[in-house]
Amino acid sequence: MRLITHNMLQCHVKGCNANNFPLELQEVVLEQEEAEMNEDFLRNMLTKIEYDALVATCLKLDINDLPATIPADAAYNDEFLQILHRVILETHIKSGKMVCPNCQHNYIIRDGIPNMLLAEHEV
């Protein structure tokens, strides 16, 4: 799973509706995989990304490349878009877990695939 997708996830356990984002990454193994740069896609996603959460998540993973605040000209700042691309589209989480900051539910990630299945009482 790429970091862009992690940034779009929140806990979906029944009744867990507040403080359920971002899911905290723990014990993760990361892998860099090259992908073709697509500026238009990045611009599309700029409006959707929760930037502060992205930066905080990255810092915990020792990824220190993103500026602390999003540049005012982000959509047309080539240098920034390059970094953003590398971080959110080329960084894959291969294994580990995502822990909900609110209810502590653990979503296990194996072979890059998070298990989002819930137990009956969590639905």
Binding site: M1, R2, I4, T5, M8, L9, Q10, C11, H12, F21, E33, E34, A35, E36, M37, N38, E39, D40, F41, N44, M45, K48, E50, L89, K94, D111, G112, I113, P114, N115, M116, L117, L118, E120, V123
Partner: protein, 285 residues
């Protein structure tokens, strides 16, 4: 032949060897790709717009491959681990999740520019466990899907409805969750080619233009498609590959460069060519 969803739960029907058999069957692959192509067309995204798209019941990634070819970034989930395993082997380009549609989704509001789902929805009308109530599962699915779509985005479901009641049940739930839209039937007069696409709009207004339910293909045609020259209407894609059931060999660098040249010629923006152009995205693991 009885319907697969009546035989066993999906993770069993698409379990073990079945997942590989399903994916390796070139006839199935061609049909799924054709339906995925039609679903992407029905999403009605602006030409050349690279969207973030959800594939519900993505299976082994046959439908995702079409999304990728159309230039979209996709995320898919499926309830059958064996199908996801095949997707990994096939180096599917999308992010994958193990997830049950009936339990709803965990995406933040407005995440996706569209959703497609190919040959899955009928499964949700089943109660595979005593705790399963199809209506409750459909409601949870559609309500979380609705919120995960940006306003005006579409969700297109190709599916095999069992009867009218099932269509009513599905449509009723979708509408109660805020969706508008309806059923598009392609080639309604053909036994073989008739296909159902549930076309849902997450909000009506796109740039102030009211969304209209698209017309089905071959509505005025009698019998099988093609006979009267009615063709798939997509201008974006060349469907001969899918129609003939032949799968195209992987896209090499020349293919990508040519495609990008075409886009530039049309005046569309495309990324500069670089050493990453057309490079394989995922190493085998």
């Amino acid at each position: 032949m009885s319907r697969p969803e009546h035989q066993a739960p999906p993770e069993i029907v698409y379990g073990g060897d079945e997942a590989a058999k399903y994916t390796g069957n070139s006839r199935i692959a061609a049909i799924q790709a054709e339906m995925a192509g039609r679903a992407v067309e029905l999403l009605n995204l602006p030409e050349g717009y690279p969207g973030f798209i959800l594939d519900v019941g993505c299976g082994s990634g046959l439908s995702g491959e079409v999304l990728e070819e159309e230039g979209h970034v996709w995320v898919g989930f499926d309830i059958a681990p064996a199908m996801l395993e095949v997707a990994l082997e096939q180096e599917a380009s999308g992010d994958l999740f193990l997830q049950d549609a009936g339990q709803g989704m965990a995406f933040r509001p407005g995440t996706f520019d569209g959703c497609i789902s190919i040959s899955v929805l009928q499964w949700l009308c089943n109660a595979d466990k005593t705790s399963h109530h199809p209506k409750a599962r459909l409601m949870r699915f559609f309500s979380t899907l609705y919120s995960s779509l940006r306003r005006g985005a579409r969700a297109i479901f190709q599916f095999y409805p069992e009867n009218d009641d099932q269509v009513q049940l599905i449509m009723g739930c979708a509408v109660r969750c805020g969706f508008e839209g309806g059923l598009v039937v392609d080639y309604p007069n053909s036994k073989k080619a008739k296909k159902f696409y549930l076309c849902l709009f997450a909000g009506q207004e796109v740039n102030g233009v009211k969304q209209q339910l698209p017309a089905g293909l071959g509505e005025d045609e009698e019998g099988e498609p093609g006979e009267n020259g009615v063709q798939y209407t997509s201008k974006k894609r060349n469907d001969s590959r899918i129609r003939s059931g032949k799968r195209k060999p992987g896209k090499d660098k020349n293919w990508v460069l040519k495609k990008k040249e075409q886009l530039r010629a049309k005046g569309d923006k495309t990324a500069n060519d670089s050493k990453f152009t057309a490079r394989k995205r995922r190493p085998k693991f």
